[in-house]
Amino acid sequence: MSLSYATLSHFPLRIGDATILRGILRIVPKGSGRKSRTSGDSAESRGDLVAGDGIIALAAVADIAVARDVTEALRDALDRQTPVVIDAAGVEELSTPCAQALASAAASFASANVAFAFRQPSDAFVAAFNRIGLFAAMMQWTFVE
């Protein structure tokens, strides 16, 4: 599925901007204590919530435990005013708590004028937002290649 409606105009920065990428890389560096703490037992044991290389990759099964972890990671990023890209390519199931957390994050990042974007949302990701009734809200977000 292609998402041609990515509204990059709302995104103050552009992919390829080295500053942003360095910022993204600082969110959850590989091997940091954060990974084990935020991933917790449920996510880390599945190896699904991989938060490495600076981009937060959503787990294949983004359940309530993932929602907790993502919320915490995003909260920290926002505290540091660090831009975030959510990689949603591997999502097979997106829980409502997770969708709700992303919706809250999108609004909070926008209010703080900190970049927040999604990358390669899977069909399941989009379908979940449709089913939850947050499809229109999702369409206002920024999507990057």
Binding site: D63, I64, A67, R68, V70, T71, L74, R75, L78, S95, T96, P97, Q100, A101, A103, S104, A105, A106, A107, S108, F109, A110, S111, A128, N130, R131, I132, G133, L134, F135, A136, A137, M139, Q140
Partner: protein, 693 residues
């Protein structure tokens, strides 16, 4: 327990109730007492079972329930007439559903093809009744396909609007709204809009809390019940409003393309916590929609039994603490502390009220058990070739949940006994001038602090000579023993005694009634029989309303304290030495008003060294040991009457003969609660001499 486990647990709890409702409705159909409501009850039950099974992926159960549902729907539409054959088939189908539910619960598979014969029969009926009913025949043996399910092909398209305002802990309870939307999608087309106006900023977001409210529009040919049923498992009624819209929706989630939906949910409503814009839910809709905004009221909540038991336990501890406080107060001069004394009295009253209140939460009507008996009687009647009707009364009588659960087996035995042994064949009844149809009456009533359940039949009554002969033949009774009618009747409770001419699956193995008595006595209850030859027998089952507290008489034996359940005490007396007689071979009896009563010395039984040696130095409590039996319990003194909290000795140590449990007294000491029936067994076994010579 993970979220799915929680959902499964809730589903199977619901299934217990739904299967009971289904069976009651099917029995009414079988009896020809069915009306539209009965059919709707049956349909609703099976539809709810199917809906939950669908969410949990119990596909085999879904397929069968779907088939069954299609037949029920045709009956509901008047396309099928319920004759005895169909009623019987539907009862079997109900059994099959119950078996499939139990198999799913146990995580096992029923044998291949187990339900096929019934499913084929149901499918044939459904097909014969026309193809334009609720479910297309081709679909009958297949899993519910999206956009079909309970939707009626050819029926007018209806538009329902669902306002869902779930509690904040929706997710913590293991519920996932998307599953509900998916289930709705099986009924028809669905448009969902979330109101995210309550969603807080990330800084204060609790990821496990639900901040969203939903407005869901469903266009389907299914009925209102089918739409509501989707939410049965996950949402309290108070959190849900479903209405059928007669006009075209003009709000956010009207019919149309996805783009229409997308446009309807404004970004402002979705997230920005600082934005005070109104909710995204339809605002310009009909007046009907506007009325739905009224705050819903929640009439009931589901509480985990463990939490309730914890509460009961805490209240029990509180009662014990209160008793201790009262005991401490009793050593103080009351005139010096009048306010303290009054406060303690009030505390006592409040603690008692609190205890009653908490215990009342655990009560359930006996209906859940009674409702399963009509089916039993029907099957027994078919099996024995007898014509029997069952009359039920008092099914709303409430009793502690634990007691309700324990009632099932004794009742089954007694009803089997009544139909198999009591009720005569139609020919025999006619020959004796009775109506060919026998009657079994099952009733429940509160008497004092107990529930009394009666199972009465108008059959032949207990054949006492035959019972006696069989007991002598089995070596259970001396041939020359002199017994009253009551004692003869009570012989049927002896293990191994059966007077049935042939052993059947129903009864007659002699393992039923003794088990009934033991189980009932274990619950602190009693069984009594009244039988009149040629006119029938009545079994009385008397049980405590709760197994957590007990009204007891505190008695002293030497330095020890025991509790005698108040309900078993007839009287207490100080005997004359001349009324106490020693028996040859050991044992003593007390002569009381023309009756010899065996004596049990608590001091000797439990090895209390400083106990009273002679009854005339202490007291004798005449107690009801079991049906028709009376014994005299010798104690040193009666301390007083008190409600005590029962603690299990068996669970904490091991079962002890003559001891039903333990409690903690106000002075902090542990007192044992007597099992009077167990004590009586220590006298001389099952049959005691008690008739005056």
């Amino acid at each position: 327990m993970d979220e799915l486990d929680q959902l499964r647990q809730t589903y199977f709890q619901d299934c217990d109730e739904l299967l009971g409702e289904l069976e009651s409705a099917l029995m009414a159909l079988d009896n020809g007492r069915a009306d539209g409501d009965t059919l709707n009850d049956a349909f609703r039950a099976i539809h709810s079972i199917k809906g939950g099974a669908d969410i949990l992926h119990f596909d085999r159960l879904v397929r069968f329930a779907h088939t069954f549902e299609s037949v029920l729907d045709r009956v509901r539409l008047g396309r099928l007439i319920v004759d005895p054959e169909l009623a019987s088939l539907m009862l079997r189908a109900g059994d099959a559903v119950a078996d499939l539910v139990r198999a799913a619960q146990a995580g096992v598979e029923m044998p291949d093809g187990y339900e096929n014969e019934i499913a084929d029969a149901l499918q044939s009926l459904a097909q014969a009744a026309g193809t334009d009913a609720t479910i297309a025949p081709d679909d009958v043996r297949e899993p519910a396909a999206p956009d079909e399910g309970a939707a009626a092909v050819g029926a007018p398209l209806r538009h329902y609007r669902i306002l869902l305002s779930p509690p904040a802990d929706l997710f913590r309870q293991g519920n996932e709204p998307q599953l509900l939307v998916r289930a709705l999608e099986r009924l028809g087309s669905v448009r969902t809009a979330a109101d995210a106006s309550a969603l807080p900023p990330l800084a204060s977001l609790d990821a496990e809390q639900c901040y969203l409210h939903w407005t869901i529009d469903v266009r389907t040919t299914a009925g209102l019940d089918a739409v509501r049923d989707v939410f049965d498992l996950a949402v309290d009624k108070g959190d849900l409003e479903v209405v059928e819209l007669t006009d075209q929706p003009t709000g956010a989630v009207g019919a149309g393309t996805q783009d229409t939906v997308a446009a309807a949910v404004t970004p402002a409503s979705t997230a920005l916590p600082s934005d005070s814009s109104p909710a995204a839910s339809p605002s310009g809709g009909s007046g009907q929609g506007a009325q739905l905004k009224a705050a819903p009221t929640v009439n009931s909540i589901r509480v985990d039994l463990e939490k309730l038991d914890y509460l009961v336990n805490l209240v029990g501890e509180l009662v014990i603490s209160q008793s201790m406080l009262a005991e401490q107060l009793s050593v103080l001069p009351t005139d010096k502390f009048p306010a303290l004394s009054r406060s303690i009295e009030e505390l006592t009253q409040h603690a008692r009220n609190l205890q009653d209140g908490v215990m009342a939460v655990r009560t359930q009507p006996v209906k859940s058990v009674f409702a399963r008996m009509p089916r039993l009687v029907r099957d027994l009647a078919v099996e024995t070739g007898k014509n029997v009707r069952l009359l039920i009364s008092g099914e709303t009588t409430e009793v502690d949940k634990t007691v309700v659960e324990q009632l099932f087996d004794p009742l089954i035995h007694m009803i089997r006994n009544a139909v198999d042994h009591g009720i005569e064949s139609p020919a025999e009844r006619s020959a004796n001038g009775k109506p060919a149809q026998g009657t079994v009456r099952l009733s429940a009533v509160h008497v004092g602090g107990r529930i009394v359940i009666q199972v009465a039949d108008d059959g032949r009554g207990i054949d006492r000579e035959r019972v006696r002969a069989r007991a002598v033949e089995r070596g259970l009774l001396n041939a020359d023993a002199v017994l009253t009618e009551e004692q003869l009747d009570n012989l049927i409770f002896l293990p191994g005694l059966s007077t049935a001419a042939t052993v059947s699956d129903i009864s007659g193995r002699g393992v039923g009634m003794d088990v009934v008595r033991r189980n009932v006595e274990r619950l602190g209850g009693r069984v009594l029989i009244r039988s009149v030859a040629g006119r029938g027998s009545t079994f009385y089952l008397s049980l405590p309303l709760t197994l957590a507290v007990l009204d007891g008489m505190v008695v002293g034996v030497g330095s020890e304290t025991y509790i005698v359940p108040l309900t078993v005490i007839f009287e207490s007396l100080r005997p004359q030495a001349r009324d106490v007689h020693r028996l040859v071979g050991g044992g003593e009896v007390l002569y009381v008003r023309g009756e010899y009563v065996p004596l049990v010395y608590l001091g000797r039984t439990f090895g209390v060294p400083d106990a009273t040696r002679e009854p005339w130095d202490g007291l004798v409590m005449l107690v009801d040991a079991d049906a028709g039996g009376k014994i005299g319990v010798v104690v040193d003194e009666i301390v007083g009457q008190q409600q005590v909290v029962i603690k299990s000795v068996e669970a904490n140590y091991r079962a002890l003969r003559g001891i039903a449990g333990a409690t903690i007294l106000g002075n902090g000491h542990v007192a044992l609660i007597l099992d009077v029936a167990g004590l009586a067994e220590s006298v001389d076994g099952a049959v005691r001499p008690s008739a005056a010579a």
